[in-house]
């Protein structure tokens, strides 16, 4: 239900080269995407792993709760991945974001990009992350050592970036 990848229930949304794009509630690792990312013509693979830090602004963080709007988040991730492929002419992209309760050190986000050469692979990888920071309907609440919690200040996604309403 949460995966807009190859076995997605909405295949019309899956663009060529997007190996997976969606939200998950289970453990993530960059290693998960390494096997499927890339084609025989690709010389460069860039993988990004976002991990839960054990502190933020001087506060010790004991856990992070990610809330999300999964159905929309799947769509947004698919759109961003497809856009990365078109814009940077990379060959494959995979992106997964975890929601639920995460402990420090656990992986919240994985982005994998492959391309013929390294320049486009790095640029497309960075593009995917910068876009999802603006558009992905996911929110995080930090849990501190004393049991208190706080939603993190987000970035206002105040309207569509382009006519078709994409991210």
């Amino acid at each position: 239900m949460f995966d807009a990848g190859r076995e997605a229930s909405h295949p019309e949304r899956v663009r060529s080269g997007v190996i997976v794009a969606g939200i998950t509630e289970t453990e993530l690792s960059a290693a998960d995407l390494l096997h499927d990312i890339g084609t025989a013509a690709d010389g460069a693979v860039v993988v990004f792993e976002g991990r839960v830090r054990d502190h933020n602004e001087g506060m010790k963080v004991v856990g992070l709760h990610y809330d999300g709007y999964p159905e929309m988040a799947d769509e947004v991730l698919g759109q961003i991945a497809g856009e990365a492929i078109e814009k940077y002419e990379v060959s494959t992209v995979g992106v997964r974001h975890r929601i639920g309760n995460l402990a420090p050190g656990e992986v919240s986000l994985v982005v994998a990009v492959s391309a013929g050469h390294r320049g486009p692979a790095y640029e497309a990888s960075r593009f995917v992350i910068e876009e999802l920071k603006v558009w992905l309907p996911i929110w995080k609440k930090e849990v501190y050592a004393d049991g208190s919690t706080g939603w993190l200040e987000g970035q206002a996604a105040s309207g569509p970036a382009e006519p078709e309403g994409g991210p």
């Binding site: 558009w135 309907p137 105040s158």
Partner: protein, 84 residues
């Protein structure tokens, strides 16, 4: 007399906690735009003050203020996002 309809508005993160529910049902006039929906929500005691910075999504896409909300649309208020 203008026909009205009731529509469920999905809430997330701090909004959900403030309201104490994951959705809110509101009644709007047929032909209402996203902007009209925001006006109706603005008078809601729990959510009204939280709308600044929030976006509206219709059917899982960000919607501009002039877009018309139709009966049966999936409507959500998207607080400033913080993924990654």
């Amino acid at each position: 007399m203008t026909r009205t309809f009731r529509i469920a508005v999905r809430l997330f993160a701090g909004h959900r906690e403030s309201v104490g529910a994951s959705e809110l049902e509101v009644e709007i006039d047929e032909g209402s735009t996203v902007e009209d929906l925001r006006s109706v929500l603005a008078s809601h005691p729990a959510i009204g003050s939280l709308l600044g910075g929030a976006a509206v999504a219709l059917n899982r896409r960000y919607a501009e203020s002039h877009v018309v909300v139709s009966e049966g649309d999936e409507v959500a208020i998207i607080p400033p996002v913080a993924g990654g």
